[in-house]
């Protein structure tokens, strides 16, 4: 009875059921009542690891190498024990950083590097395409075999089909459409597909039941249990070889390398990462998966050897491909329903893998390959587009279709040369290249972007050379001599015995060289390179994921506008979804709406996470940078906040810093206060001195006025004497007041200056004339020593005269009582004029030579005879001379007289200009 129509009907019905489950799963997820939120579903979905390779291929490999099929499942079993350590950390890191794929993970770890994300995507795509081809091959050949029922005929033997007659093409297209419907119905920031996970879990159940059904039928229906089966099988030729590993160490080596390889694959296959990390709802589900998943693997493998032996016993050697025993045994035994169930089981295994793998890869292609390129392509103006969610979905759908077709092409070109298992191992070896960058990134802070780039590149190239190219050669794309003699007949370059390394199997050989180079380059380049501060920050976030939960935002410093950020996220997620996300975020923080949000680091971090889900971490950073004014992150800052992940240290360091700053500020304040107090004291002193100086003449004036008033009978001579004192003291008081005001004006810069070009000689002669009366009274002789020609100087005539008068009257006061002599000399220096006013008096103590220029300080304060004067003349003179740009000083020794000297610079065009300016500003 041919099954033709029934196969198609059942297949369609089965796919329909899957779709219904997925649809229901999504609906429930939207309603908040997730059906996948339990550890059993999670563990079952992990069994996406078991593909048609397991379903059909295990038996094939067992027929060739006995227990040799087992390492592929023992590795994951061993790794499951480490799930709690490793996978939980991957989940924690990914949740905290909104990582949606392996490419994203590696890119984010090494400073959100778009280049690295692209490279990982490329490796994943190139590496996994053979694996997808394998599924297509399994589905189409199982379909073709079952189609022939009840005849058992191997498909494609000798006949070349055009693509349009090729079932595999239709399988590929059907699966592409199915995956697109499944995985890209809408865009979600978390990149989670609850419905798909539910369907995958269901598929895991179906393929397990189907396989167990065949196993039970064969073992207990066809034979009388395991013992009977093995007893009969013992009669098979060469059966001993299948039940031992064989003696030489090489076999143990290959056994070990396969266990190791599959340990890495369970973590780093894109679909495993998708299911175990991205789709994980609750990291505690992992606990149950630790034993449920190995148990599943054990269950699906327990009947592999019985089925293999049964097949070998049932079919004459060489007539039926061992890869098809699972299907052909029930067919040969006329168990059409069982055969149909097996076909559906195989379909489950294949579709499950293809769906998850292509969704995972399409996310990577979109986020880590297409978007970074498109966003940098300015001509497209993508950065300005308002809603990119449609474009994102389009890219993903295109990527799924493309992957499926690539898988088909590979299948057509190379598929026939390899058994199912061998194709799968090529892919395993490719994704194993992620191990150093991934594990190093999770446990080693010093791993750098450059290290990861070089390690991945080298590992990938060696994988390409030692595994993929030989596969091409075997498929006839390259000459076979490439394998047998090496390129250009260079023996040590033989791809299957690189550098003469022989004795390992293909996989072991490739794994050794590629991982050696990969790990070596990763560690070496990392150790001899430097991390950027962003890389370092990310490294700490990843390695210390369990210690620093959700601290990412603290690394951001800058400013942004809330509306801009929301609009940006809206362009990728769609405005409605973005609005919802931010409203939820606002509600979480107790705000009424997203309008009340503050554009702080947390908000930007949240936005980056949302974007990262849609377009990947690296692109998200680029996009956010366009609306966010980010301040460069200094190494010290990063270290200060996160170094060694010790927030306590950072906190105390910050406190220390703050208290240090506070101390500094207090110190400055104290100093400023002291300065103010000093100024205050000086001002007080000045006022007190001024009042004292003013009170002295005032005292005389008042006393004599009262005396005159109270004694009208005073004799005229005495009366005249008293009145003269009053007049003199009044003059002194007036002079003093004028000088105090004058000095105040000079000091505050409000004095008026009328600067002109002066002949100094005239001014000196003028001063001599003015003081002639005084000189005569005191009997002092004034001698001038002036050169014939004096160049003009720029100065205020009245002010200069004031200085000269002051110096002359000082000299008069202090010169010798009996034979007073004063000399005024002028010298023309290269850049200035120098005026000396010399007396022959008692001289000035060196101690007093500075103080006489201070206000109200007079030489001889401690002398019996109090000198005349206000004590302001010299300070005023010095102010004036300094204003002209010159200097006023005194040279003297006790008993040698004193010489007051000042200079006036020549050619003061500049000073004149400023004075002119000041005149207009303050001029009357």
């Amino acid at each position: 009875m041919p099954l033709g129509g029934l196969i198609l009907l059942t297949s369609c019905a089965y796919l329909g059921i899957l779709f219904a489950i997925a649809y229901w799963g999504d609906k429930r997820a939207d309603a908040g009542r997730s059906i996948i939120a339990n550890p059993y579903i999670y563990a079952l979905s992990l069994a996406v690891y078991a593909t048609s390779w397991t379903f059909y291929g295990s038996v094939g490999r067992a027929a060739a190498s006995g227990v040799g099929f087992l390492p592929i499942y023992l590795g994951p079993t061993l790794m499951a024990a480490l799930f709690w350590l490793v996978l939980r950390k991957m989940i924690r890191i990914s949740k905290a950083n909104r990582i949606t794929s392996i490419a994203d993970f590696i890119a984010a770890r090494y400073g959100k590097s778009a280049l690295l994300g692209g490279l990982v995507t490329l490796i994943a795509v190139v590496g996994v395409i053979p694996y997808i081809a394998l599924q297509l091959k399994a589905v189409s050949s199982s379909f073709l075999i079952l189609w022939q029922y009840p005849t058992i005929q191997m498909p494609n033997q000798g006949e070349a089909l055009g693509p349009l007659q090729d079932t595999a093409l239709y399988v590929a297209l059907l699966l592409a459409i199915f995956t697109i419907l499944f995985g890209t119905r809408h865009l979600d920031a978390t990149e989670r597909h609850e419905g798909m996970v539910a369907a995958i879990a269901f598929e895991s159940l179906v393929k397990l039941l189907a396989f167990l059904a065949v196993g039970l039928y064969v073992t207990f229906g066809l034979y009388h249990g395991f013992a009977d089966l093995f007893e009969q099988a013992a009669r098979l030729p060469d059966v001993d070889q299948l039940l031992t590993l064989g003696g030489p160490a090489g076999t143990y080596g290959s056994w070990g390398s396969l266990i190791f390889l599959s340990m890495l694959s369970i973590l780093f296959l894109p679909r495993q990462f998708q299911i175990s990390v991205v789709e994980n709802v609750n990291e505690n589900h992992l606990a149950k998966a630790i034993w449920l998943f190995p148990l599943y693997l054990l269950a699906i493998n327990i009947f592999v050897l019985p089925i293999t032996f049964a097949g070998l016993m049932h079919f004459p050697a060489g007539t039926v491909d061992a890869d098809t025993f699972v299907l052909t045994l029930p067919m040969a035994l006329r168990q059409e329903w069982l055969a149909l169930l097996v076909f559906i089981g195989g379909l489950s295994a294949a579709t499950g893998m293809v769906i998850v793998e292509t969704i995972a890869l399409s996310t990577m292609i979109c986020n880590d390959l297409a978007m970074p390129l498109l966003l940098r392509w300015k001509a497209l103006g993508l950065a300005q587009r308002t809603d990119l969610s449609g474009l994102l979905l389009g890219i993903r759908r295109g990527a799924i279709l493309l992957l499926m077709l690539l898988g088909y092409v590979y299948y057509r070109a190379a598929g026939e040369a390899y058994a199912l298992v061998s194709i799968g191992l090529v892919s395993f070896a490719a994704v194993a290249q992620f191990a150093p960058a991934m594990l190093g990134g999770m446990y080693w802070k010093q791993g750098t972007r450059a290290g990861a780039l070089s390690g991945l590149s080298l590992g990938f190239l060696l994988w390409l050379y030692t595994l993929l190219l030989p596969a091409f050669a075997k498929s006839g794309w390259l000459p076979l001599s490439f394998i047998e003699q090496g390129p250009l007949a260079i023996a040590w370059l033989k791809p299957l015995a690189l550098f003469g390394l022989a004795g390992l199997d293909e996989i072991g050989h490739s794994l050794f060289w590629s991982l050696l180079a990969n790990l070596g380059a990763y560690v070496g380049v990392s150790l001899f390179g430097r991390q950027s501060s962003r890389e370092h920050a990310q490294a700490l976030l990843f390695v210390d994921a369990f210690k620093v939960a959700g601290r990412g935002s603290s690394l951001w410093r800058g400013s942004a506008s809330v509306t801009e950020v929301i609009a940006l996220v809206g362009r990728f997620l769609g405005p409605a979804r973005a609005g919802e996300a931010f409203a939820g975020y606002a509600a979480q923080r107790g705000l009424a709406s997203s309008a009340e949000l503050v554009p702080d680091a947390d908000l930007v971090h949240f936005a980056e996470q949302q974007l990262a889900g849609a377009i990947g971490a690296a692109s998200a950073r680029v996009m956010l940078a366009s609306v966010v004014q980010e301040e460069p992150l200094g190494m010290d800052e990063v270290l200060g906040i996160l170094d060694e992940a010790s927030q306590v240290i950072a906190y105390s360091r910050r406190l220390e810093q703050q208290s240090h700053e506070l101390e500094t500020a207090t110190g400055e304040l104290r100093a400023a206060n002291a300065r103010l107090q000093e100024l205050d004291r000086l001002k007080d002193d000045f006022i007190s001195t001024v009042t004292h100086e003013l009170r002295t003449p005032l005292t005389s004036i008042r006393a004599f006025s009262e005396i005159l008033n109270d004694n009208p009978e005073l004799d005229p001579a005495q009366r005249a004497r008293f009145v003269a004192i009053i007049v003199k003291e009044s003059e002194r008081l007036t002079r003093m007041i004028n000088q105090v005001l004058d000095l105040a004006k000079l000091e505050s810069g409000r004095a008026e200056w009328h600067t002109t070009a002066l002949d100094l000689k005239e001014v000196i002669e003028d001063a001599q004339a003015t003081t002639s009366q005084l000189l005569q009274e005191q009997g002092v002789e004034l001698r001038l020593e002036l050169p014939a020609q004096i160049p003009p100087v720029l100065a205020d005539r009245d002010r200069l005269l004031q200085v000269l008068l002051n110096l002359i009257s000082n000299a008069v006061k202090f010169c010798d009582r009996e034979a007073g002599r004063i000399g005024i000399a002028v010298q023309v220096l290269p850049e200035a004029l120098r005026v000396d006013v010399r007396d022959n008096g008692a001289g000035i103590d060196p101690a007093d030579q500075q103080t006489i220029f201070e206000k109200f300080r007079q030489a001889g304060d401690n002398l019996t005879e109090k000198p005349q004067g206000t004590g302001l003349g010299l300070p005023i003179s010095r102010q004036i001379i300094e204003h002209f740009g010159g200097r006023l000083w005194v040279q003297s020794a006790r008993g040698q007289g004193a010489t007051f000297s000042f200079t006036l610079p020549l050619g003061q065009a500049n000073a004149a200009a400023t004075d002119a300016g000041r005149e207009t500003e303050y001029g009357v």
Binding site: L85, T244, Y252, A287, W291
Partner: protein
């Protein structure tokens, strides 16, 4: 939390036991081609060890859950 690190350590121990069981030289002991209860020795050993590991994992995970 102490419970969790203890669980992780026990699981690492299970992992190491598994590595030991599934590799040379222990593997070689059972690679002699004999049989137990009619089942090939290596086959029985591998699946037995595998089951043992799973039981150990169940014990570690489920017991530390209480």
């Amino acid at each position: 939390m102490a419970n969790r690190t203890l669980r992780a350590q026990r699981l690492v121990a299970v992992f190491m036991l598994g590595c030991l069981l599934f590799s040379y030289p222990l593997l070689a002991l059972f690679d002699s081609g004999g049989e137990v209860f009619g089942i090939p020795l290596l086959f029985a050993y591998l699946f037995g060890a595998w089951a043992l590991l799973i039981v150990a994992m169940i014990l570690v995970v489920e017991r530390s859950n209480r």
